[in-house]
């Protein structure tokens, strides 16, 4: 610091320059806010508002028609008496517990397979990705036809393979098979999307690492466990978080294939929320179920973050 650059420390009235600088700063801020305003207003009106409203509704009684009434913790205690809620809670956990690892393994398997130099690789990649982009309604109809208990080709094949007609799975119509059917459908529908993410992850792994491993003497299996899988850590984390969240929010697959049935065997939380809100018009209670779902997803995601952070830090 030299004397010439040192400013006098005494307070002085704002000069014209200082005032105009302040106005320019405010102008800049306004310009910036005006750019994000359209998006933020849309978000506030259509997302943030309803979310806050739903939070409040969880402690209200409202049928959408009559005036809203304060309910206190009524809706909360109702959860424990509601057998459909308890069934849908566990069904959602089972669905997520099965769908996440299955989709993950299938997507990774497909990605590894379609990352090799195989014949018509792009064609097979498209085939694998297709279910994800295809209309859910269309593929669900086809799926229901394929897995129809009496006339579906899948059961016909099983029958010709010698399965006793009495033992043939009843798929979506059977109490024990309905959830499995929904899980299979979801895995098949979503694995193409996560395959693409895994493919990107695989292509990000330097080929030199595999060459170094070849020279170190690793077998294909050892290379997979010791190099591919650890290198895909961040990808697997992303995929598992996305999958968990979408699995907890499952609705459309259930709606198209089983409508929650038979009985409550495939009833899941979001389907229950839908029924309570728009079939029974108990908007307060359905908001309470939604609140439970929110904390469930939040809790699991936080745990995933905690578990993976260490692993993340270890990777370059």
């Amino acid at each position: 610091m030299t004397e010439t650059t040192t400013q006098p420390a005494t307070a002085q009235p704002p000069t014209r320059v200082a005032v105009s600088r302040r106005w320019r700063k405010i102008g800049n801020l306004l310009t910036a806010y005006s750019f994000i305003a359209p998006n933020f207003i849309g978000f506030a009106v259509f997302t943030l508002g309803p979310i806050v409203f739903a939070f409040l509704l969880a402690f209200m009684h409202w049928d959408g028609n009559n005036p809203i009434e304060w309910a206190g913790l009524d809706n909360f205690f109702k959860l424990f008496r509601d057998r459909v809620f308890i069934a849908s809670f566990w069904n959602t956990i089972i669905y997520t517990g099965a769908t996440v690892p299955l989709t993950l393994v299938c997507a990774l398997g497909l990605a590894i397979l379609l990352n090799q130099q195989i014949f018509a690789r792009n064609f097979f990649r498209t085939i694998a990705f297709f279910p994800y982009v295809a209309s859910l309604i269309a593929v669900a109809v086809v799926w229901n036809m394929l897995f129809h208990p009496e006339f579906g080709p899948v059961n016909m094949v099983l029958y010709t393979l010698g399965v006793d007609p009495k033992d043939l799975p009843r798929w979506a119509a059977g109490k024990d098979w309905a959830m499995i059917t929904v899980i299979m459908f979801s895995v098949w529908k979503n694995m193409g999307y996560f395959m693409v993410i895994y493919l990107a992850g695989l292509q990000g792994i330097s080929a030199e690492l595999y060459e170094a491993a070849d020279i170190d003497g690793a077998t294909a299996w050892q290379k997979f466990w010791r190099i591919t899988l650890p290198q895909l850590g961040p990808t697997t984390f992303f995929v598992s978080v996305m999958l968990t969240i979408t699995s907890f929010k499952v609705f459309d697959q259930v709606f198209m294939i089983t409508q929650g049935g038979p009985g409550t065997s495939t009833m899941v939380l979001v389907y229950h929320i839908y029924n309570e809100a728009f079939v029974s018009w108990d908007l307060g209670y359905s908001s309470m179920v939604a609140l439970v779902l929110f904390f469930l997803v939040l809790g699991i995601t936080l745990i995933q973050f905690r578990l993976t952070r260490e692993n993340e830090e270890n990777l370059a």
């Binding site: 030199e208 070849d214 170190d216 003497g217 050892q222 190099i227 650890p230 990777l315």
Partner: protein
């Protein structure tokens, strides 16, 4: 024990042949360097030796065994990659221990070998770090360490110093040379840097376009290049070439309107009937002098005028870039020389050290 023979080794990618039937004998414990410009096939050759590339034809023999179809892990080799190829998710220790773990070596042996190598390479304090927390030079050492712990008979090094800064490169050059002596193993080293090749190798293999041009000791390559490519490639600044024609029955050459004497070594090597043969005369930068050196026969010199375009002081010497008889030339002179850009200076060319190449075939005479 771990001598290596390349017998008519060829590599093709589709219709493109990148290595053309090369023959090379590498002695046990030799430090051999494959050098050449980008795309000359040196890395491909190394990768064939490593087993990372299939051999299109020919045989690769390590020891007494043809290893064409032997997987890399069974060839008793270790490799240091250009980008180090360290496993990012493993610590330095794990990186170095990985190969031994895969071979189910006992814990204590792994521990001992890793620590020994780390000690030699001065990376013992880094064993718990991950590669991303290391500098380029440290990563280089870890890559060397990973190769060392396996105690292979052959070390393959693919441009291992190309990612280091100039100072570190010079230091690592010396370290690798010492390491070779200490480890008592065969080193096959690929580089495009002729300085690395000259300073480290027992023998240098000069390659271009998938062919081996010359295999010899560094000094022999420098003194007796077999063709213009080798002459131009080895030596920095590179050799100067002048288009000349053979005159006076081979005792001199014509360069423009001047006649330059040829040493007997070259005139005797010219085949009969070489009168007027178009040749290239090669003179290294250090064979130009400001005044006649005492040990040079005056009859074997010629005074030549040079227009200096650029003077590069190197400290111990001065590089004069300019034009001499219409040809671009670099002369290496004493740093006391006062010539600067734009000056005209008379230099004495020492033709007793000249090289002569056939203009058409580019092959050297008299080597």
């Amino acid at each position: 024990m771990a001598g290596i023979s390349l017998r008519k080794l060829r590599k093709t990618f589709g219709t493109l042949t990148v290595v053309h039937d090369i023959d090379l004998e590498i002695a046990d414990k030799e430090f051999i360097i494959l050098v050449g410009p980008s795309g000359c096939g040196k890395s491909t050759t190394l990768r064939m030796i490593a087993g990372l590339e299939d051999i299109s034809s020919g045989d690769l023999v390590i020891g007494d065994t043809i290893v064409n179809d032997v997987p890399p892990k069974n060839r008793d080799i270790a490799m240091v990659f250009q980008n180090y190829a360290l496993y990012p998710h493993m610590t330095v220790y794990k990186n170095m221990a990985f190969g031994l773990e895969l071979r189910h070596s006992p814990r204590e042996i792994i521990d001992k070998k890793v620590n020994e190598a780390a000690e030699i390479l001065d990376i013992a304090h880094l064993l718990n770090r991950r590669p991303k927390a290391l500098s380029g030079g440290q990563r280089q050492r870890v890559a060397l360490g990973r190769a060392m712990v396996r105690s292979p008979a052959v070390f393959l090094l693919d441009e291992p110093l190309s990612n280091l800064d100039a100072k570190l490169r010079t230091a690592m050059r010396a370290e690798i040379t010492k390491l070779h002596r200490k480890l008592d193993a065969t080193f096959i080293y690929v580089t495009h840097d002729q300085v690395e090749a000259m300073t480290m190798a027992d023998r240098i293999v000069v390659m271009k376009d998938g062919h081996i041009h010359q295999v010899d000791t560094p000094q022999a390559l420098y003194d007796r290049p077999v063709n213009m490519f080798v002459a131009g490639f080895i030596g920095a600044p590179q050799m100067n070439f002048f288009p000349v024609a053979v005159a006076r029955g081979g005792t001199s050459v014509r360069f423009g309107d001047r006649e330059l004497p040829l040493p007997a070594r070259l005139s005797e090597a010219l085949p009969p009937g070489s009168a007027d043969r178009a040749c290239m005369l090669g003179l290294r930068p250090e064979h130009f002098h400001e005044r006649l050196p005492v040990d040079v026969d005056p009859a074997m010199t010629a005074e030549m005028d040079m227009e200096v375009e650029l003077a590069e002081p190197m400290g111990a010497e001065l590089h004069l870039n300019g034009v001499l008889g219409g040809e671009t030339v670099i002369a290496r002179v004493s740093p006391r020389c006062q010539a600067r850009a734009g000056d005209r200076i008379t230099l004495i060319a020492d033709l007793s050290s000249a090289h002569l190449f056939d203009k058409k075939t580019e092959a050297a005479f008299g080597n």
